[in-house]
Symmetry: C2
Subunit: 213 residues, 2 copies
């Protein structure tokens, strides 16, 4: 699967293609994942991939599905502990593959790995006192929080100084007085947005108790 050297005939496998496609997207974003670039990386012409996937959409479907394989399943008796671990893992996986969350929006047919993952979580919750609808709600609300938080993290500039400059770049009264104050009080006091994930997660987990039984 390494770059450049041509493969033996038949050495192109679905697994291998998915691995290289993931690596390609991880490195250069979704835009870098073209069929030709993927072929190049596999030591093959781009069109060769079409013998293993009907079209690019099918490849992307499989890619998204595969991401769920990396997410930890909830474990242990205490559902708060189990769900927290799963959510933490989910966030890390989505940060590792930033292209995945952008793809979710456009694909409406969950793959087998995704279904198996969700099936497991639902079963886990049902065994711990969450009734039918309650289990679905807990899964949906936690996922919503994780997806949304990661989305904000990805949109966060790696270097905040230009934004800070924009907020403060003015003469006379600031156009964004409250953001200005927030920067002074919080951001400049060593605030790390990533730390807030656990805070919000614990608040949400506490709230989920109301959906039990």
């Amino acid at each position: 699967m390494s770059q450049g050297q041509p493969l033996q005939r038949g050495a192109l496998t679905v697994q291998g293609i998915l691995e290289e496609a993931t690596a390609l997207a991880d490195d250069g974003g979704l835009a870098a994942l073209s069929m030709r670039a993927l072929g190049r990386r596999l030591g093959v012409e781009g069109m060769a991939v079409y013998h293993h996937f009907a079209n690019k959409e099918a490849l992307l479907d499989a890619l998204v599905d595969r991401v769920f394989n990396e997410m930890a399943l909830p474990e242990g008796e205490d559902w708060r502990v189990g769900l927290r671990a799963r959510s933490v893992s989910e966030r890390l996986v989505l940060r590792r593959h930033p292209w995945a969350i952008g793809l979710v929006e456009s694909r409406t047919a969950p793959g087998p790995i995704t279904l198996a993952h969700q099936d497991h979580v639902i079963g886990y919750l049902r065994a711990r006192g969450f009734a039918g609808r309650g289990s679905a709600q807990v899964l949906a609300f936690l996922d919503a929080y994780v997806y949304g938080f990661v989305l904000q993290e990805l949109a966060l500039p790696t270097d905040p100084t230009p934004v800070v400059d924009v907020v403060r770049e003015h003469e006379g009264p600031s156009p964004y007085p409250h953001l200005d104050a927030l920067i002074t009080e919080v951001v400049e006091a060593g605030y790390d947005f990533a730390d807030e994930f656990d805070v919000g997660l614990d608040l949400l987990l506490d709230a989920m108790g109301a959906l039990r039984g």
Copy 2:
């Protein structure tokens, strides 16, 4: 701004371009928004747009920023009521422009409208007992929930029957027993995922009280 008829020289404005670009993306998704298609809709060659926006990225930046104009700002004394109204509006706007949430991921420099919106919300929260960090947390957690929920809504198939078929399409024991049970108990009893938004939102708003003062 209507389709087809050529414009007078100079009739192409930033506002007009943004309006048509939004309509184009609303209708056919982000993929339908090409510079040539946009020009066609404006009665102009695609390249003409480049006299008003440096490149497509700049256009997309402005599009995302403009979306924030449609979101209601929080109002009233009761912060729970004010925030709930804002979140409900935010969700509706994101559903109206499904392409917007996919764009957020890739743009790290918030525009002036976005900044003004956030500034207002932070000010609103500060005036109602949320200290520096607390106000930032409330905004982040609520947005995370709304973004993530809408993301799931957009990924939801408009017609769930094919997914139901996949879950149940088996001989012998179901590969997804808990999802199968969930469908029986909940989905087939007239479950509407959209209704869950308010449930989760109220739980989260209750939890936000802990960040006050």
